[in-house]
């Protein structure tokens, strides 16, 4: 059986960052990703990042992906990358059952880092299954990775950073955004992103939601309506929008299915996106030598995922008996970066969530 000191499942910002620390410390690492290319969702992120220089602020996600992958190049002899490979199962003895081109094989790992990320949530409304109702991230993939327009006229539902950023990217691709609706009474994401699309003439409508999609074989129109203080639609306020695409940007759920196969303890923490693993300060789960970091641990920005990945990598390397230079100091510095990234009002939710999780653990 193939063996590895540390298998990292998921080659996105968290997984790649963890890999770098492990490799630097001298470990043998295997990165497994079900996509053909590494990078996770960075692959479609054409916008510039926030945060500080340390997390590549004001660089575009697509470029950050290159940096993260290039960082691994010097360690080629100890790094195995398996793309296009799905981990179908993890057994208690840390044997991973993998599928590649319909061939099944197993890898035995000493430790496992789960960095599987998250998937987009759906929203219940009439005809929400019509073709043309797409998750916002899916639209971003279609446009920025494959160069294809999802449609000509779009309604965006949700004003978190994904809704705002993808709204802007739709405009960049030459697509009309008829409106962006938000059920809450305020913008969910960074105001600077909201101002950008407002300046370009997109109506951003708080206390408004979608009532139904209209169409036979695909979306032909959408009906929106105002919400009262109990989040209920107000009859008589319906407005019909001439759109062929409805983008749903109402948040993400951690992809914990694989993680849960290892038997780790998972609890529901609303602020972190749903069922999330209980973790210690080293991103260790409740199962020995199984770690989780990035969106699978708590829904956040890619910037935090990279920092979490590095902290996880350092701990995982040390737990395997490798020496990490200045480990204590570096971990403190990284924790400080996370603290800064989670500062201010936008970070309030995740701060609360992490506190809740600490209590549960």
């Amino acid at each position: 059986m193939v063996t590895s000191e540390c298998v990292i499942v998921g080659g996105g910002p968290a997984g790649l960052s963890a890999a770098k620390e492990l490799l630097e410390a001298g470990a043998r690492v295997t990165i497994i990703d079900r996509n053909e290319r590494l990078g996770g969702q960075l692959i479609k992120q054409t916008h510039m990042f926030f945060g500080s220089e340390k997390q590549y602020a004001s660089h575009r996600g697509i470029d950050i992906l290159e940096y993260l992958v290039n960082d691994l190049a010097p360690y080629g002899d100890r790094l195995e990358i398996r793309t296009g490979t799905t981990v179908a199962a993890i057994y208690q003895d840390k044997v991973l059952g993998c599928l590649k081109d319909e061939k099944y094989f197993k890898i035995k790992a000493e430790s496992v880092i789960i960095a599987t990320g998250a998937s987009e949530k759906a929203l219940p409304f009439e005809n929400n299954d019509l073709p043309g109702v797409y998750a916002a991230g899916a639209v971003q993939t279609l446009m920025n990775e494959y160069g294809i327009k999802p449609g000509q006229k779009v309604l965006m539902v949700g004003s978190g950073n994904i809704g705002l950023i993808v709204g802007y990217q739709l405009l960049q691709a030459g697509i009309e955004v008829k409106a962006l609706v938000e059920a809450a009474d305020r913008i969910g994401g960074y105001l600077v992103h909201a101002s950008k699309i407002r300046r370009l003439g997109v109506p951003v409508l708080p206390k408004t939601s979608i009532k139904r999609a209209i169409g036979e074989d695909a979306v032909e129109a959408a009906e929106i309506w105002s919400l009262d203080e109990n989040w209920q639609g107000i009859p008589g306020t319906e407005k019909k929008l001439d759109v062929d695409t409805i983008c749903i940007a109402v948040g993400l759920s951690p992809l914990t299915e694989l993680l849960q196969q290892t038997g780790v303890r998972v609890e529901y923490v609303r602020e972190l996106g749903g069922n999330v693993p209980l973790l210690d300060e080293g991103y260790r789960t409740t199962v020995d030598k199984v770690y989780a970091c990035g969106d699978v641990a708590n829904i956040e920005e890619a910037s935090s995922a990279m920092v979490e990945g590095r902290i996880t990598g350092i701990h995982a390397a040390r737990d395997l008996g490798h020496e990490v230079e200045n480990a204590g100091f570096r971990i403190k510095a990284l924790q400080h970066e996370l603290y800064d990234l989670r500062g201010g009002p936008p970070g309030e939710k995740v701060r609360q969530g992490i506190k809740k999780r600490e209590v549960l653990a």
């Binding site: 019509l130 073709p131 899916a138 279609l142 160069g147 294809i148 327009k149």
Partner: protein
């Protein structure tokens, strides 16, 4: 439906890749997935719900939600949003739940 002009990204001309959609010859380009090639051809309906036969398109585009499952070269439940397009592929709307395949 392909993006020609973009302030940040460039989408250079690529070789076209012929394939069949329900028997009809269509063309995608190198680097397409099956779903992206279909979308570029204006095909939004990829599957049908099993009981009510409601039309379904893709939803997540990362191989997670199964809304884009189609029959490809006789194989059912292929996640077309992450399956690279290959020349000559026979892509069909799947009827029902599909079958187990492989050895």
């Amino acid at each position: 439906m392909r993006i020609r002009k973009h302030p940040i990204l460039s989408f250079p001309e690529k070789d076209s890749v012929p394939f069949y959609y329900n028997g009809k010859k269509l063309y995608g380009i190198e680097g397409d997935t099956i779903a992206s090639a279909l979308h570029a051809n204006g095909v939004k309906k990829l599957s049908e719900s099993i009981n009510l036969k409601r039309p379904r398109g893709f939803y997540c585009a990362i191989g997670n939600c199964a809304s884009c499952d189609m029959e490809v070269d006789g194989k059912t439940n292929v996640r077309t949003c992450i399956t690279p397009l290959k020349a000559g592929m026979e892509v069909k709307t799947q009827r029902g739940k599909g079958r187990l395949h492989g050895n």
